[in-house]
């Protein structure tokens, strides 16, 4: 059984240039913000946007570099999220490329299911994007898909 | 070799041996111990002197974490459900093992006081080994809960029984004047003191924990408190195991969101356990195995028979399930540090037979430590506690 056999192929993805307002509008009716893959014009996976990414808006650029120095002692969230000044025009000035997480764990669609599962375990992720040999986004696979597949085999569904 | 190279050698070989053990379906702890024996001073001698010297420190460190994680299963709700079974089984299993071994040792022709010492040492089990196996196989269920409870309480019984037997032995052998009452008092001081220590710190821990807001502080706070408790227990000659168990049992019952204190240790603690067990293996005097003799062999077999029978009756009296009746006895097979500690006291108290007692216990520990985990795994497996197996 391979990843491509059970992955979800209908993935909502965004482009690097998608603005903050567009992004918020796309997901305002979701009951929580999902993990959204970011692709370029050729469909190549560049990163993901997740709920933590929104905190990046309030951080200076290059702060992620400082996070790598363990002695900088910063927590990811700004100290006081309820008291943040947001300037006019931020909704279309900030784009996905500014806030996306490039630390992305992905799996090839021809990989074994076990491999995908192990990757998710190793990186402590519930779902990861699936790419083809050209690194183009083709789907997303989650632990739930794997659980579902096992339950189907056992005749529970 | 410097200390860091030694630690890294232990970590990497431990990791590798754990992987191999996984392939041959053996608990990782057995692999760690064997690696320890192989690289320890009694065979290849790869472990640097400085680390062997620090093994006492590392074992107290690891034991305090292990005890802390055992204690979390003593929530009030659970105790209502299984408290009766745990009490009966632990008492009768300890009693069974003790009586069986005393009788057998008398039959083997040992003096009464030596038999008493062997009998009281036989009550001890190894909570650390059990918790490792339960963690590794993610065992879950009623059987596991009762087992955890039994090995945890076991420690308290073992302590009482041993100190009383030690007093009797001294009375018989040296005609010593210290009364049984006094001895009981000091055993209760040790147990009671550990409870008070763990209880007070646990309560304070829960009260102050609302000031902890991020993962980093949480880790420091939890680790710091565990070490603080263990350190005070050592300082006042109390039991590190009991103190840390009561600490987490208190936290579980006082604090509603206590799970986060245990979760924060999840990934962190395994390397500590790994080093602990490899070092435990390195400290096993493997050359003693040849001196195990008839007495050692009898001890190994009779102790486990007594445990099984005691457990069986305990389970019958407390209406435990048939799995518990059948398999919980062998799950109490591992025996390690606690027994060795008792044997060491016996050795220093009785010059005549003490050395022989220590050698025998040290040798049988090797067998129990290496074979025990395999039986525990079988017991858990038979009782259907291992998911996906």
């Amino acid at each position: 059984m391979y990843v491509k056999d059970i992955m979800q192929t209908e993935v909502i993805s965004v482009k690097r240039g998608t603005t903050l307002t567009q992004l918020l509008n796309m997901f305002k009716s979701f009951h929580s913000f999902p993990k959204v893959p970011v692709i370029d014009n050729d469909g190549i996976l560049l990163g993901v946007v997740h709920i933590r990414s929104f905190f990046e808006i309030f951080q200076p650029h290059n702060q992620d570099l400082l996070m790598r120095n363990p002695l900088s002692m910063i927590s990811r969230e700004p100290a006081d999220i309820f008291n943040i000044d947001i300037e006019d025009g931020m909704g279309f000035l900030v784009i996905v490329a500014d806030i996306m997480d490039t630390k992305v764990v992905k799996v090839n669609q021809n990989a074994d299911l076990k491999k995908a599962y192990d990757l998710m375990q190793l990186h402590n992720r519930d779902s990861i994007p699936v790419v083809d040999d050209q690194k183009k986004l083709v789907g997303i696979i989650s632990v739930f898909d794997i659980v579902m597949k096992i339950f189907k085999e056992k005749g529970l569904v | 070799m410097n200390a860091l190279l030694g630690i890294s050698l232990i970590l990497l070989l431990g990791l590798l041996s754990g992987k191999i053990a996984e392939k041959v379906r053996t608990p990782a702890i057995t692999a760690y111990l064997i690696i320890g024996i192989l690289i320890g001073p009694f065979s290849l001698g790869f472990v640097p002197e400085s680390i062997i010297a620090a093994s006492g420190l590392i074992s107290n460190f690891a034991l305090s974490f292990i005890a802390f994680s055992i204690g979390q299963s003593f929530s009030r709700g659970l105790f209502h459900q299984i408290g009766k079974q745990v009490l009966w089984i632990s008492i009768l299993a300890a009693f069974g093992a003790g009586v069986f071994v005393v009788v057998a040792m008398r039959v083997m022709g040992l003096p009464l006081y030596v038999a008493l010492l062997f009998g009281s040492i036989a009550t001890a089990t190894a909570p650390a080994a059990l918790i490792m196996i339960i963690r590794q196989y993610k065992a879950k269920g009623r059987f596991t809960e009762i087992l955890m409870g039994v090995v945890a309480i076991d420690d308290a019984w073992g302590l009482i029984v041993f100190s009383v037997c030690l007093a009797f032995a001294r009375k018989i052998h040296f005609n010593h004047a210290d009364s049984v009452f006094q001895v009981m008092l000091s055993a209760f001081w040790e147990i009671g003191g550990s409870f008070v220590l763990g209880g007070i710190i646990g309560w304070m821990f829960s009260k102050f924990s609302r000031h902890i807001r991020n993962e980093r502080d949480l880790l420091i706070y939890t680790v710091g408190t565990i070490l603080f408790t263990a350190g005070l227990a050592i300082h006042f000659h109390l039991s590190v195991l009991l103190g840390c168990m009561v600490l987490s049992a208190t936290i579980v019952n006082v604090h509603k969101e206590s799970f986060r204190f245990f979760e924060v240790l999840q990934t962190v603690d395994w390397p500590v356990y790994l080093i602990f067990f490899v070092l435990a293996g390195a400290n096993l005097e493997i050359n003693l195995l040849v001196e195990i003799g008839a007495i050692g062999a009898v001890y190994v077999i009779v102790r486990i028979l007594g445990k099984c029978l005691g457990t069986y009756f305990g389970a019958v009296i407390s209406n435990a399930g048939s799995d518990v009746k059948r398999y919980m006895g062998i799950a109490q097979m591992p025996q390690a540090g606690v027994a060795l500690g008792m044997a060491l006291i016996a050795k220093s108290t009785f010059p005549e037979w003490g050395a022989m007692i220590f050698t025998t216990i040290a040798a049988t520990t090797i067998i129990y430590e290496i074979i025990g985990p395999i039986f525990v795994k079988i017991a858990l497996h038979k009782a259907n506690q291992i998911p996906g197996d």
């Binding site: 290059n62 570099l65 120095n69 | 860091l4 630690i7 990497l12 706070y221 710091g224 350190g231």
Partner: protein, 388 residues
């Protein structure tokens, strides 16, 4: 007092002092250092000899973890991300602080091997204080972005400069009469040894890391390999810092998902750093404080001059704004963790001079951490990075 109790007390009180420091807007490291002094043999004496005895191992562990984390900045991707300005400024301000402090101290008759070390330590800056100020005033803008990048990278350059300087001054110190050739030879062996160990182990860490399946194994594997690297370089007297840093650099450039090796360390590292800094404070020899007057002041002043000159030159080459040219160096003054770590290594290497270096750096750290934030604030004001 037994070691376990000592560690427990250090952790609990360290946490408490960190919280207090937060209230008075000081970085936690300063609080740990002061706590160490209070606990140390010169005051309460809570930290016993047992604990001081294991402090060598703890500081090697802490330093190798710090160097490993900082080493991940050495990737092509990062260099492209930060851009020209940050690269030029960070390199030149680090070298500038080193060179000018070195020359300044030589002028005041400090022996060359000591001045080399002081200079190298001068290159380091401290992210914590800077970030606290930036956060407090919600400062934003291009100047802040550049400042962040420079602070992130200058510790990395600082570690390299320090390792090279240490190699040279060790060779000089061991044999004062030796020729320049011998000194250089010793230094080259030390450095290339570190590169070799770090490189080989980096490849192994990365390759075998592909087979790992869960977080526990990943943690054991990562710290296991870091300890091997550190252990080997200690054994052969290579540079612990360079080895770990190069190990990280190799991993980052070999493996697309290398962040897993660094992220997993976040689970365990902070208690180690806390203990490390408290013990650093405890090993401070208070009675030396009185004797460092001149050296301390010279060191502080020349470091500031060096940072300013280096930044100015770097900004000039990279064609930065006038704001950056004039004020960026003000943001680089705070100094703490990395500098203390370097000073501790020096203390271990040079019994006599090392103590003076360590005491000076510890004292100036406290001063820099107190006055540093004011200068950061000033720089942010002058460059209009603080809104409202």
């Amino acid at each position: 007092m037994n070691i376990i109790l000592g560690m427990g007390i250090i952790l609990v009180f360290g946490l408490l002092s960190g919280k207090l420091a937060e209230k008075v807007k000081t970085p936690a490291i300063t609080a740990y250092l002061l706590l160490g002094i209070v606990f140390g043999p010169f005051a309460l004496g809570i930290i016993s000899e047992h604990i001081i005895a294991v402090s060598g191992t703890i500081s090697h562990i802490a330093l190798s973890l710090i160097a490993f984390s900082i080493g991940q900045n050495f990737s092509g991707k990062i260099f492209r991300q930060v851009g020209n300005q940050v690269m030029w400024i960070s390199i030149l301000e680090a070298v500038g602080a080193w060179l000018i402090t070195l020359v300044g101290l030589l002028f005041f008759k400090v022996p060359l091997y000591m001045a080399l070390i002081f200079g190298a330590i001068a290159a380091a800056s401290a992210p914590a204080a800077i970030i606290m100020v930036v956060r407090e005033y919600k400062a934003r803008g291009q100047f802040v972005d550049i400042l962040m990048g420079v602070v992130a990278l200058d510790d990395a350059w600082g570690l390299i400069i320090f390792s090279l300087s240490l190699a040279i001054s060790k060779a000089m110190y061991l044999d004062l009469s030796s020729s320049i050739g011998n000194v250089l030879m010793g230094a080259i062996i030390e450095i290339s040894g570190s590169f070799l160990v770090g490189g080989v182990l980096g490849v192994i860490l990365s390759r075998i890391g592909l087979f790992l399946k869960n977080q526990t194994d990943l943690l054991i594997w990562t710290i296991g390999v870091i300890f091997v690297a550190t252990g080997i370089s200690l054994h052969f007297h290579f540079s612990v810092l360079l080895t770990s840093m190069f190990l990280a650099a190799v991993v980052v450039n070999l493996n697309n998902e290398s962040f897993k090796f660094f992220d997993i360390l976040n689970h365990i590292d902070w208690p180690i750093y806390l203990i490390f800094f408290v013990l650093a404070g405890a090993s401070l020899e208070i009675d030396l404080l009185g004797k460092i007057g001149v050296i301390g002041i010279v060191y502080m002043i020349f470091r500031i001059v060096g940072k300013f000159a280096g930044t100015y030159l770097g900004a000039h080459i990279a064609k930065s704004d006038d704001d950056v040219k004039k004020y960026l160096s003000l943001g680089l003054l705070p100094q703490a963790g990395v500098a203390l770590g370097m000073a501790l290594i020096a203390k271990e290497q040079f019994p006599q001079a090392g103590n003076i270096i360590f005491t000076t750096v510890a004292a100036t750290t406290v001063v820099y951490e107190i006055i540093g934030p004011f200068f950061v604030k000033l720089a942010l004001h002058k460059t209009n990075q603080i809104h409202n």
